[in-house]
Symmetry: C2
Subunit: 285 residues, 2 copies
């Protein structure tokens, strides 16, 4: 998916939030924002938002000297969601259709995204999670996912954000684990999952976890490691979580199911949907 | 008031909205946004938001070849508010304290601001206006304004936006008109009032109207015309409408009453207030 002019103010809002987290000195923050603006002014709209986002956050990390500004926030999100794990697990097991409920929760947890939404408080997370079961979801898509999971021999599950990864684990526990490999980003970017998070929430104990070799808040294949690209091409089915993975893989021809919450009007429009809606969809080419 | 990093994404949101109005061709829109970004990347945070806003909108007008992109929106706002004029006038005349009610309506109408709020629909305007009488307002400040208006011999009333200007007229009708000169911007910028709007809503029929000689969405004295600066220095009292006038005059030592709605967290913080609150305040130095 290409970038639209609507995305620019969002990039800058994200950068402002990140620089406030990463840099203490207010005048240094202004310098860093100037560098980010220069980056953005040179951007090519034909590139995906995720590529541009990667560049912005790289500039921020370099300029701030902080290689992982969101580490503390990621730890807090993971702890918060791990504390709710038994409750969520119970909710899934007692559901009429546990797989569907796990899909719902995995998508609902996609709200934990500091790229699209700043100042996400814990109450919001709790509300969204408790509403997960009530919100509309395409049941036919759930059935299609069930069939494709059954048919597939190898499944790649592309993670998205910290915190949210706890619900990815819950969904994976409802799937044939032996087929699945979980994928994290190759380097810290925003509050996206890296190997640290996969270990923190016990993902590494239930399935193999690999990283994609790149620091974008999505999956920009041409910059990912050759090892990851081979695994991606060879997979029978790919489950891709979140807007970032959608934005970077929407034009890809592989067999991909996207699970996300539409967090901005541009994405909502792509799905003929509205902001805030839960989306489970295989994009047809 | 200086600029904060929080203002950057707002500038870009404003620019995106303006370029969508001013330019039809999507790829040309992207080019123009690139030029705006270059402008913004060179900005100096010590300058006021209004100076930077002026530069952005100048770039937009030049790049789009459209000298007044908001003309149609301004005409629509004026017509909409003029149609409500008899209703508002009745509401003021039947109020226990007509001056206070006129102040309330003049501030409530400050919501008609396409800089801070895009896609403002007519229903929103109607709701805000009908709530004007119920919203908290500092009564002591109203009394102080009443006294200072009485004491003053010359009053400058600095206008802000089209549409809103109808309520400025309603407030001026509650004041000693012979003391008042109304001020519009020197050139079109955003949906700010120019002489065209003052004529369209009949302001020119009730008080003298002058322009400030500059195209900022506020009052940047150093760039205003010498004639306006003289009038400004000589005035006993200045009534300044809207965020733009506040942002550009908050450090000025003249006798200024600011009437505005706080439309962003940065401004709300300046007044120890919250977003959406009606503000009538004389800034003490």
């Amino acid at each position: 998916m290409r970038t639209y002019i609507d995305c620019i103010s969002c990039f800058l809002k994200q950068a402002q939030s990140a620089v406030t987290i990463a840099v203490d000195d207010p005048s240094r923050r202004e310098q860093v924002m100037g560098e980010v603006l220069e980056d953005v002014s040179r951007m090519n709209f034909d590139r995906s938002t995720v590529e541009i986002g990667a560049e912005i956050h790289r500039t921020l990390r370099e300029a701030s000297g902080n290689p992982d500004p969101y580490r503390e926030i990621k730890d807090r999100s993971n702890r918060r969601m791990l504390a709710l794990y038994p409750h969520f697990s119970q909710q899934i097991q007692s559901a009429e259709d546990p797989l569907e409920m796990a899909v719902r929760m995995a998508i609902a947890a996609n709200i934990i995204d500091f790229g699209a939404i700043q100042n996400l408080d814990e109450e919001t997370i709790d509300n969204v999670m408790s509403e997960a079961s009530a919100i509309p979801l395409d049941r036919a898509a759930v059935e299609q996912l069930r069939r494709e999971v059954e048919r597939a021999e190898t499944i790649l599950y592309l993670g998205d954000n910290a915190g949210e990864i706890v619900c990815d684990r819950l969904l994976i526990e409802q799937l044939p684990r032996e087929k699945i490999t979980f994928v994290v980003r190759g380097n810290p970017v925003l509050n996206d999952v890296t190997m640290v998070d996969a270990e923190a929430v016990g993902m590494t104990k239930i399935v193999p976890v690999i990283d994609n070799g790149f620091d974008a808040p999505g999956t920009v294949l041409e910059f990912c490691s050759p090892e990851f690209r081979d695994r991606f091409q060879a997979a029978d089915l790919i489950i891709a979580k979140g807007q970032g993975n959608y934005e970077s893989l929407s034009d890809n021809q592989q067999n991909i199911f996207f699970l996300l919450k539409a967090k901005c009007p541009v994405i909502a429009k792509e799905f003929n949907s509205s902001v805030g809606v839960q989306i489970l969809q295989k994009v047809r080419h």
